[in-house]
Amino acid sequence: MIPISYYLMVSAILFIIGAIGVLLRRNALIVLMSLELMLNAVNLSFVAYARLLNDMGGHVFVFLSITVAAAEAAVGLAIILAIYRAKQTIDVDHLSLMRY
């Protein structure tokens, strides 16, 4: 049997990759996909801990967090579409109107 810490390490690696993507990429679509990657990594550690502690609460929370991620994807993509319509670009470096 695989120790639970291996699953948690895979989850940590995926989360860090996702965080690097959110911080370094400029394409808003890829930023959104990196965000999905981070959410998935957290789901994996939820399931791993549920297995370790023999408690199905972790599975319920994965269920809820997948729902939240689906809602986030729908609203996020709608926002990207609206931004693209208004500005003809989805480069997040060009979307700095509210910075000052």
Binding site: I2, I4, Y7, A12, L29, L44, N54, L64, V75, L77
Partner: protein, 162 residues
Amino acid sequence: MEAFLFWIFAIVGVFCGGMVVWHRNPMGSAIYLVVTMLCLSGFYALLNGALVSVIQVLIYAGAVMVLMLFVIMMLNVQAASEEREGSLPVWIGAGVVGLVVLVKFALLLQYGKPPEAAEEFGTIQGVGAALFSTYVLPFELISVLLVVAVIGAVILTKRRAL
């Protein structure tokens, strides 16, 4: 067999996760993200999470990624730019910082093999019973969130000028 499957899923999943961030074209990133999600679904199956494994394939790899691919095709942003975003030192620096955080995690997370799973662990009966008894309030509230998200998405895309 379990170890073999674990390493296959781990290597393919992490490689494709890296490619999501590294690939220049959003379309390629989305395809790699689908593969990562399928690998995660395999992890859930290895961890006795039958229901979440199926839901991962249906909702994530199915519904959410189709929505994402649909928007990528609809926007049809100019073909992949030649120059990579961010210079190479920035990427290497980010990788080094990530590795340091990872080593810290590895020192912190020292768990052994899991206990023997119960008969109903992770099945539809088991998770369903927990969902409709202990966690019934969050389950009902999540439906409100879904309604809000649907209305928000429709209103955001309908308005002409932002």
